[in-house]
């Protein structure tokens, strides 16, 4: 049983608080993803779970046991580093076997010279040998067992790192951005492999990434973090369909969710000076919440261009950027007529909204259009706190 309980976990380096009041409970066998932008404290969090970094305050439990003061080894975890941290002077075989060998170390094997002899003897022990072979086979490394890490490709190194972590059958697997050094194609393949590994070993995984695609595709639970604070904890579906705040809304999804800063005027919503057609009902509910301004969130794939009608909300706009990706087209638009905005330098990306349209449709830049979206595609956020408003 290795459920994970974070209870008001905090970490400070001097006066600099990196993690504050992190609380969550993760069930056994979950695939938990810690997701957040670079520098938000994901690695620090993971290292606290591993025991590589001291916990400043709060308690961390594996199952019912408080592990705050246990060494990494005592916590029975495996850690896959972003850089893999393979042992460069050892063969792949010795790398994979190392955790097992250390498990079988007596205290006097730590003495000089004795250790070297015992390590090579342990490497030849039949049960250890069999286990190395089985693990290597599982990760298709059998042909590379005699090589050194520097003679391997990036994907193979990644696999050696994974092999080394699973050989000891730890209770919890920890991954720190393990795919960030791989190219896009290999990344996709390794994503599938790690997911399959989770299904196979049936243990708790904690996986750190800044890549929302990895989080959405691999995680069974996601914790979105920003600046050391938990923003939302939920399943991928929950986080996608009901983001807890503007940060989560924009962090998940590519391109990010469009946020329109809207004001209630004359019983309608206005984005800047441009009225939103059919927004009477929305204006009324915003006023009912006691607000005059609101952030209107709409995902790029929920936005249509040039097809107003029925009860769709629509805003006058013009196209600015057109990115043909083949299967789909990303169109960058700004509200208002052509020429209504400054569109050079930094100004070009400010106030830009994105629509994600099927690839067959053709668009030209700098032409008028209408942003349209259905009522049920709208998320409301408090313009000050960024919190989700239920309506």
């Amino acid at each position: 049983m290795a459920s994970l309980t974070f209870d008001a976990l905090s970490k400070s380096y001097g006066a600099n608080t990196v993690i504050s009041d992190f609380s969550a409970t993760v069930d056994d066998k979950e695939f938990l993803v810690l997701l957040g932008p670079s520098g938000c404290g994901k690695s620090t969090m993971l290292r606290m779970v591993a025991g590589l970094t001291d916990i400043s305050s709060g308690t961390l439990k594996f199952g019912d046991d408080v592990v705050n003061t246990l060494t990494p080894k005592q916590r029975n975890i495996a850690f896959v580093f972003q850089s893999y941290a393979l042992y460069p002077h050892m063969t792949v075989r010795a790398n994979i076997a190392f955790p097992l060998i250390m498990d079988n170390f007596r205290w006097w094997y730590h003495l000089p010279f004795v250790g070297a002899v015992m390590r090579s003897r342990l490497l030849k022990r039949p049960d250890i040998k069999a286990k190395i072979e089985r693990t290597a086979e599982m990760l298709e490394l059998t042909d590379y067992l005699q090589r050194r890490p520097k003679a391997l490709s990036g994907g193979q190194r990644q696999r050696v790192a994974v092999a080394r972590s699973i050989i000891r059958e730890p209770a919890i697997y920890l991954f720190d951005e393990p795919l960030s050094n791989l190219d896009a194609k290999l990344r996709m393949q390794m994503r599938a492999e790690i997911s399959a590994l989770h299904a196979r070993v049936q243990k708790t995984f904690v996986y750190v990434t800044h890549d929302q695609v990895e989080a959405m595709t691999m995680g069974t639970r996601i914790i979105v973090m920003n600046e050391g604070v938990v923003q939302q904890y939920g399943t991928p579906a929950e986080i996608y369909s009901a983001p807890a705040n503007e940060f989560v809304a924009r962090f998940i999804g590519s391109p990010p969710m469009n946020i329109f800063a809207a004001t209630v005027r004359d019983g309608l919503l206005y984005v800047g000076d441009v009225p939103v057609q059919n927004s009477g009902g929305w204006a009324a509910s915003v006023v009912a919440l006691g607000l005059q301004t609101v952030s209107l969130g709409v995902r790029a794939e929920k936005i249509g261009l040039d097809s107003p009608g029925g009860d769709l909300l629509s805003i006058e706009a013009h196209t600015l950027v057109v990115e043909h990706l083949g299967a789909e087209t990303i169109v960058g638009v700004k509200t208002g007529q052509v020429g209504a905005t400054v569109d050079v330098g930094v100004g070009a990306s400010r106030g830009l909204h994105y629509a994600r349209i099927a690839g067959e449709e053709q668009f030209t830049t700098n032409s008028g259009c209408r942003i349209t979206f259905a009522s049920d595609a709208v998320h409301l956020f408090d313009p000050e706190t960024g919190k989700r408003l239920e309506h």
Partner: protein, 278 residues
């Protein structure tokens, strides 16, 4: 064009040749002198082309009535002991300096430096009286101790900067796998910094091998002399058998040169490649 290129190659070859001659001449002269009868040397009869019929005279020191072989053995003991003790202590110190924060770290680093700033001649009198009290005079291991004191700090700096380049992740990964600090040092650091270790071995070995001042002052027994002292003893008050001195010098150089050649093969960089990143 081709002419100009040939010319530049020619100039470079000449330059290289000049350097080789400059560096090699003393060695040649040492060998040549060792092969010349001592009478000819003093009779202003020195030959430029050695008399190859006297080649074996290079090793005449070994068959002379001085116990030169024994002195060489003593030198090897002192130099080998200095190397081993220095490297053992330097590895531990360098690891601590590289990876730990502790009170007095700056002071300790300065302390290592300080040993290099003091001239040996200044220390010889206090050291002599200290060694006398401790009964270390006339003992080879006394020489090992004093040589280590001067050689070890250099090794510490060399090894520390090598250890600084070992990625933290490797150490942390080893900790997750269950290594303690001593095992991490043995299993991870020492193999990874092997080239620097070999360089440090060369430096400390030569320190011990070439050392003369302490060896001459602290060792009184002829049987316990090291080769540097023995060699100097050939230079007499009334006669100096120059061919014997040079023969001794050659024989004295050979073990050190062999040790260097052995170590040189290990001083290759690039062991850490492939551990971190792709």
């Amino acid at each position: 064009m081709i002419g100009r290129r040939n010319l530049s190659i020619g100039v470079r070859t000449l330059l290289a040749l000049a350097l080789v001659i400059l560096a090699g001449f003393p060695v040649f002269w040492m060998i040549n002198t060792a092969m010349t009868p001592v009478g000819d040397l003093y009779a202003n009869n020195q030959r430029i082309v050695p008399d190859f019929s006297r080649t074996l005279n290079i090793f005449q020191v070994l068959v002379s009535d001085s116990p030169f072989l024994r002195w060489l053995g003593n030198s090897a003991l002192v130099a080998g002991g200095t190397t081993m003790l220095s490297l053992l202590l330097a590895c531990l110190a360098a690891y601590a300096l590289s990876r730990y924060k502790f009170v007095g770290k700056g002071l300790m680093t300065f302390g290592f430096f300080a040993t290099q700033m003091l001239p040996e001649a200044l220390l010889i009198v206090p050291l002599y009286s200290m060694f006398m009290t401790l009964g270390l005079l006339n003992e080879l291991y006394g020489l090992v101790l004093v040589n280590t004191a001067f050689a070890m700090p250099v090794a510490v700096f060399l090894l520390k900067s090598a250890m600084d380049t070992v990625p933290y992740e490797i150490e942390e990964s080893a900790r997750v796998d269950g290594c303690n600090a001593l095992t991490i040092l043995q299993v991870m650091f020492i193999p990874l910094i092997a080239p620097s270790l070999a360089a440090a071995a060369v430096i400390t070995f030569f320190d011990g091998w070439n050392e003369y001042l302490f060896a001459t002052t602290f060792i009184h027994d002829t049987a316990n002399w090291v080769a540097s002292t023995g060699l100097a003893s050939f230079i007499g008050e009334f006669t100096t058998p120059l061919d014997m001195v040079f023969s001794g010098a050659i024989v004295f150089t050979i073990p050190a040169a062999i040790f260097f050649l052995l170590m040189q093969r290990k001083i290759v960089a690039g062991l850490t490649a492939g551990s971190v990143k792709g």
